[in-house]
């Protein structure tokens, strides 16, 4: 199996052999719902940070007991998975007020509506600021210190500054490698598809980071001998919130659009910015996580807008597709503002609403086809 094949497999399932091996060695796994949770602190505690997905869910009838009909379907499916015991490989869960949907789903965990694998199960909701200024960074540093201490207390471990520094280096290496992968996507004939890239980023939060880094290095070597994709009709940037299904991008790419970059949380927002390695580690983490390229939960629209424009130029993007889970208010308004700006700049831009499970595929195909027609590259 090539490294690329190995790295694109974890996205297909909730857990995978890497996690199973980790658990066999009595390793702890901590789930987290949002890229604003610093994986370095979990890693420095000797645990495996796992970004939550609902992969494999086919319905949400149990989740619907506590999620409302206005809750996005990712949260409904994830809650359903939790209530069915599909996350029993977890030893703890960390969330934050990412959005109204996530915070209410987390409340169902807090209120004991989930069949937990352990008692006491580690549950924490971080108080992450919405602003990106210096006081917010300072608050975040305090919050991360509290997070660190709560992990230490619950699991009876010590998280030293030295361990944090090492974890920062390891996670930064992951980020650098992913950026190297994205650099390749700037080529006229990128060696990976958007669907593959999404799967690779997902793998980065679904296995021990050291194993991921090794595989990613190997894969970057393999890609040197791979023919690039050049038979596309348009180079696309895919923006939006939660997206964990490479098949969604595959559908776009089957129609001739090649996703060459993204503005996704399983994407550039997760890894674009590095953590300073020579500073006090908690302060460095706080700065990075608050001032990184932001998601629309943050009060930071102008900077996001500029970042997307820059991506469009750097990756020679012909058109932007914004995918949005129905009921997501953050991406509803943010996506519309992106459309307004793209129109001013003459960049073709389209918003696609979707549900967690692939549905209305025919309608989506028609819309993507029509969008690609308008680009007329």
């Amino acid at each position: 199996m090539t490294a690329l094949e190995e790295l694109t497999k974890p996205a297909d399932t909730l857990t995978n052999p890497h996690i199973e091996r980790w658990k066999e060695k009595d390793g702890k796994v901590i789930g987290y719902y949002c890229t604003y949770v610093p994986e370095e602190i979990i890693h420095a505690a000797g645990m495996l940070p796992y970004r939550m997905r609902a992969t494999g869910s086919t319905n949400s009838e149990l989740g619907d007991l506590y999620a409302s009909h206005l809750t996005c379907t990712f949260c409904r499916h994830s809650l359903d998975q939790a209530m069915r015991g599909e996350y029993k490989f977890l030893d703890g869960l960390v969330a934050l007020f990412s959005c109204d949907h996530i915070r209410r789903m987390f409340d169902a965990w807090r209120y004991g509506k989930i069949d937990l694998p352990h008692s006491p199960f580690y549950l924490r909701c971080l108080s992450v600021p919405f602003k990106v200024d210096a006081p917010a960074v300072e608050w975040m540093a305090g919050e991360l210190d509290r997070f660190r201490r709560s992990l230490e207390d619950h699991f009876q471990v010590t998280i030293t500054n030295e361990a944090l520094r090492q974890s920062i280096k390891t996670c930064n290496e992951k980020r650098r490698l992913l950026r190297s992968l994205y650099e390749l996507r700037k080529k006229e004939a990128p060696p990976v598809t958007g669907a593959e890239a999404l799967a690779i980023v997902i793998a980065g939060s679904s296995m021990p980071v050291e194993e991921f880094n090794q595989l990613l290095k190997q894969m970057l070597g393999e890609l040197e001998g791979r023919d690039g994709f050049s038979d596309y009709r348009a180079r696309l940037l895919l923006a939006g919130g939660e997206l964990e299904n490479p098949a969604y991008i595959r559908l776009i790419e089957e129609l001739g659009g090649l996703v060459v970059t993204d503005f996704l949380c399983f994407g550039v927002r997760d890894f674009w910015d590095l953590v300073e390695e020579d500073s006090e580690p908690i302060a460095a983490l706080a700065k990075r996580y608050i001032q990184r390229v932001s998601c629309p939960r943050m009060i930071d629209h102008p900077r996001r807008d500029k970042f997307v424009r820059d991506l469009v130029k750097e990756f020679k993007v012909d058109g932007v597709i914004i995918q949005r889970l129905k009921f997501c208010d953050n991406w509803g308004c943010e996506g519309t503002m992106t459309q307004w700006e793209a129109k001013k700049d003459g960049i073709p831009c389209m918003m696609l609403e979707r549900e967690y499970l692939m549905s209305a595929v025919g309608q989506m195909r028609t819309r993507v086809q029509a969008f690609l027609e308008t680009i007329r590259r």
Binding site: D100, H101, Y111, K113, S127, D329, W340
Partner: protein, 412 residues
């Protein structure tokens, strides 16, 4: 009609209807607020958008005219139930997703259609919801108005979290000073805070009187909230809330009750259906009185005005507890606990919730609340109705949902 008078004509019409009122109370308070807004528009004075959880004391102290956009929306619904529809449609046509809170869509649409006076400044906290945070980023994008967000920690405590919040409030003062080009006079702020305390005393006494059974007057004690958004800290607002309280006291003294026979007491722990003002009276005709609602609910301590620091801290603390702000800023517990408290203290027999489709944070509490309500034997009705738009669920449809629910309870 001049061009200026033609603009905002629905609100100007409402103002014309109300401006002759001299008797203190909610109607006069509304007239005074609209009058201040139109004076500012006509004279080119700055207007501040204060989101619906931001009370007015700092604006009063700095003599800045507050314009809560959500109040702008809801007030016009008293004149025309469909008044928000054009702006809601305009926002959707511009690409805004239909599931956004209709009040927020109407604000965006109003700005696009020039149906709301443009703001010179915008202020809001990061609660209660995603709708608000992202809508006001769009408002900033559309208007270019400087915008200040009060960043609220998710878990509040008396230590670092409160300190962070108080510093946010101090940042707001600097923001207002900078953009109004005025300097805050702390003696004036002390006066305003003390006036606010007096007003709050009346408000809280009003809430207490609504605990009486049978209920002396139907509906939540809403005048304090209107004061909070438009003029809290002015003697006029205090006088208006006192007038509402005096009416209530007088009814209690005379033994007057909201309905001849009180059959059931409703806790309406959300906002009312703004375009359906007759709904509460219709319920009352069935013998179902509304003893408590989110609009009137307030649970605060007086502001300690002994020093500028204590005054600011008191105002900041109070800003955490405004209706819906208090319940929406953190975990589900905040809304659930307050709703249960309302049921207990206001002696509710049931809870009715208007399921506003934009309100994901509150609807997300419902499943947990339903379990607790079942355990405690509290009947709950939730149905989908848009508070700012009568098209998704009409008044007749709402009544068709409420009537059998109330009949079942009253037959017990």
């Amino acid at each position: 009609m001049t061009e200026k008078a033609e603009k905002y004509k629905l609100h100007r019409g409402l103002y014309d209807l109300l401006k002759g009122i001299t008797q203190p109370g909610m109607m006069k308070m509304m007239a005074d607020w609209l009058g201040a807004v139109f004076s500012a528009v006509d004279e080119g004075k700055p207007i501040l958008f204060n989101q619906f959880t931001v009370f007015s004391e700092l604006m009063v102290a700095l003599d800045i005219v507050p314009l809560p956009p959500e109040l702008w929306q809801s007030s016009q619904l008293n004149v025309d139930a469909n008044a928000c529809c054009e702006s809601i449609d305009a926002a959707e046509e511009a690409g805004i997703h239909p599931e956004l809170c209709s009040a927020n869509k109407a604000i965006i649409g109003d700005i696009m259609l020039d149906k709301i006076p443009p703001p010179s400044m915008v202020v809001l906290p990061t609660f209660p919801c995603d709708n608000s945070k992202i809508t006001y980023q769009a408002v900033a994008h559309l208007t270019g108005a400087p915008t200040y967000f009060l960043d609220c920690p998710y878990w509040m405590d008396e230590g670092e979290a409160m300190d962070y919040w108080v510093n946010q409030y101090k940042g707001l003062i600097s923001f207002l000073e900078k953009h109004s080009e005025k300097k805050l006079d702390y003696d004036r702020l002390k006066e305003v805070a003390e006036e606010s305390n007096r007003c709050l005393d009346y408000w809280l006494e009003g809430l207490e009187l609504l605990k009486l059974k049978p209920l002396p007057l139907n509906g939540p004690f809403a005048s304090g909230y209107l004061a909070g958004l438009t003029a809290l800290g002015t003697p006029a607002a205090t006088e208006a809330v006192k007038a509402s309280l005096d009416e209530l006291r007088s009814r209690v003294d005379k033994g007057e009750t909201a309905v001849p026979e009180e059959k059931t007491r409703v806790i309406w722990f959300y906002y009312p259906v703004f375009w359906d003002a007759g709904l509460g009276d219709w319920m009352a005709q069935m013998g179902a009185v509304t003893a408590s609602g989110l609009v009137g609910y307030f649970n605060v301590e007086p502001i300690d005005t002994s020093t500028p620091e204590s005054t600011i801290r008191g105002l900041a603390r109070r800003a955490l507890d405004t209706p819906m702000g208090r319940q929406g800023r953190g975990a589900s517990d905040l809304w659930i606990d307050d709703c249960l408290r309302a049921v207990e203290e206001w002696k509710g027999d049931c809870v009715i919730l208007a399921g506003h489709p934009g309100c994901k944070w509150l609807m997300g509490c419902y499943g947990l609340f339903r379990d607790i309500a079942r355990e405690r034997g509290i009947p709950v009705l939730l149905w989908d109705v848009d508070l700012f738009d009568p098209r998704p669920c009409s008044g007749e449809e709402s009544r068709a949902r409420i009537e059998p629910f109330l009949n079942t309870i009253m037959a017990r």
